[in-house]
């Protein structure tokens, strides 16, 4: 049962991630959380009460079971700074991030396929060269720098688009384009290599030997085989997208999960960091599992 096994593995990976997050939090020097509370002006008795309330004085095993049980209920604890529940904070920030990631993914798929095909198809010398250069450049340029340049050109010089905030469509265009472009170059490189290697495969030589017209060879044989890995790449790029969201949201001053995570990191708000990381790990594993299963469906060679 490959389906059951695949889902079981995904569950194990998520469990390992959760355990790693739990251990990391307990590895902290014992009074890091107390120090955190001291900064916000609590006295020793209040800190002790807080530690009791957070269950930090219980044995590890009890804490671990409680942590896993909380996860199953969707309870991720409370922010050390505001006392708000982490689940609520995440729910509040999820919308803008999903909008940004979704728009960027759409750009990445369209642009990635376009660039990758332009780089791989024969006969397009200048376009192909330009596409290959754009791909290498996109893979070597820091996203925070392209973003800065984009703001300079489109906001400062041309005064066309706003550079920050969220909610309106015009505020989405720049961050989605920048994040999408960088994600697209990763997709494009794999599309290019995959199509090129499919073009040299034996079944393509056979198709040509049968006397099929070149158009037909490319459309029916090369592209069909060459574009299969695209689902996998897009799933793998989800990780890049999640990291990119942190930087893009910081650069374009957008609310969202990335900002929440970054602020929590700088303030050492451990439960919030742990909650967001858990959520992204689950999303990443889910996307990859779905892509894997989809691939089995599309490609008869992978079905075992």
């Amino acid at each position: 049962m490959p389906l059951v096994r695949r889902i079981l593995w995904a569950a194990i990976v998520v469990w390992l991630t959760a355990t790693a997050a739990f251990i990391a939090l307990r590895l902290l020097p014992g009074d890091a959380i107390a120090a955190q509370l001291m900064d916000s002006g609590a006295d020793a008795a209040a800190i002790q009460a807080r530690r009791d309330a957070l269950g930090l004085n219980d044995p590890w095993t009890v804490q671990y079971i409680r942590f896993l049980a909380g996860l199953l209920r969707g309870d991720l604890g409370e922010s050390l700074n505001s006392g708000q529940s982490v689940s609520e904070l995440i729910a509040f920030n999820l919308g803008p991030t999903i909008t940004l990631a979704g728009a960027a993914l759409a750009v990445a798929i369209g642009l990635g396929l376009g660039l990758g095909l332009a780089a791989a198809l024969p006969g397009w010398r200048i376009v192909g060269g330009a596409a290959r250069f754009a791909i290498s450049l996109g893979l070597s340029t820091p996203i925070y720098w392209t973003g800065t340049l984009a703001i300079y050109v489109f906001t400062v010089q041309l005064a066309l688009l706003p550079s920050g905030g969220a909610g309106r469509l015009s505020q989405l265009i720049l961050p989605a384009a920048v994040l999408g472009f960088h994600t697209a170059t990763g997709v494009a490189r794999v599309v290019q290599h995959s199509v090129q290697s499919a073009a040299g495969a034996d079944f393509v030589r056979v198709a040509r030997a049968k006397g099929l017209p070149e158009r037909h060879v490319w459309l029916r044989h090369v592209l069909r085989a060459g574009l299969l890995p695209v689902t996998t790449v897009i799933a793998l790029q989800a990780g890049f997208l999640l990291s990119g969201v942190v930087i893009t949201e910081a650069l374009f001053v957008r609310p969202g999960l990335g900002r929440l995570l970054l602020d929590a990191t700088l303030r050492q708000d451990y439960p919030v960091v742990q909650g967001v990381v858990m959520l992204t790990a689950v999303m990443y594993v889910a996307v990859n599992t779905v892509a894997d299963l989809l691939n089995r469906l599309l490609d008869p060679r992978v079905r075992v």
């Binding site: 390992l16 997050a21 290498s136 820091p142 800065t148 995570l261 990191t265 960091v273 990443y284």
Partner: protein, 260 residues
Amino acid sequence: MKQPWLLLSLALVIVILIAPLLAPYDPMATNPGEALQPPGAGHLLGTDALGRDVLSRVLHGGQRTLYTAALATVVALLPGVGMGMLAAAAGGRIDAALLAVINAWLAFPALLLALVVVTLLGVGLQQVALATGAALIPQVARVARTAAIEVQALPFVSAGRAAGGTGWWVMTRHVLPNAAPAIAAYAGVTFAYAVLNSAALSFLGLAGDLGVPDWGAMLYEARVTFRAAPWVSIAPGLAITCLVYTANRAADRLIETRQW
């Protein structure tokens, strides 16, 4: 000239190492009277908000970027290669268990893992290097494991075993040296990622107060004034792109030539 990009990367590293000697000004010397001057005769790449010379700062900052990325590469390579070789040598259940760990590790997007490390260890340059390197370990482990498994299938490895070699001896004398070219080529890719990712962490303000900043932290500082003075951002960004681009090309070339 079989490896032009490799030579170019080495040349770039040497340039970065001697660059501080070429700097026309003290990178830390502030001069409020000359703040935010555009590129020109006095300051070839202009000045920043405190009147510091951008060219001198880029020339000095390269060493920190290089140091952080190199340290991160070592942090990624040593345990990564160790894990990969162990998985390949042990096989069976140990291999499957290690592979599960590697996959779980990969499920953590690199930047998120880095943010967790910085949350635990605090803000700083070494922390950034450690965080960047730790996030790159599973990729290295996967490449090293694949390379070792390929080499293990070759006849001289069985010959070494047949001659009575112990597992450790066969791995260090036969498998590792022959898997090394593939691993070295991937080290170039790892270094390129390390430059981008460590600079990204600096850009997010996680490198702390550095004195002379690295290129990522320079971009972080330039954020405030880039609307009026884009040149403060353009120079360090371009420097990062050049370094990553040459490292990537050198690695690509190494990977290609190995295949023939």
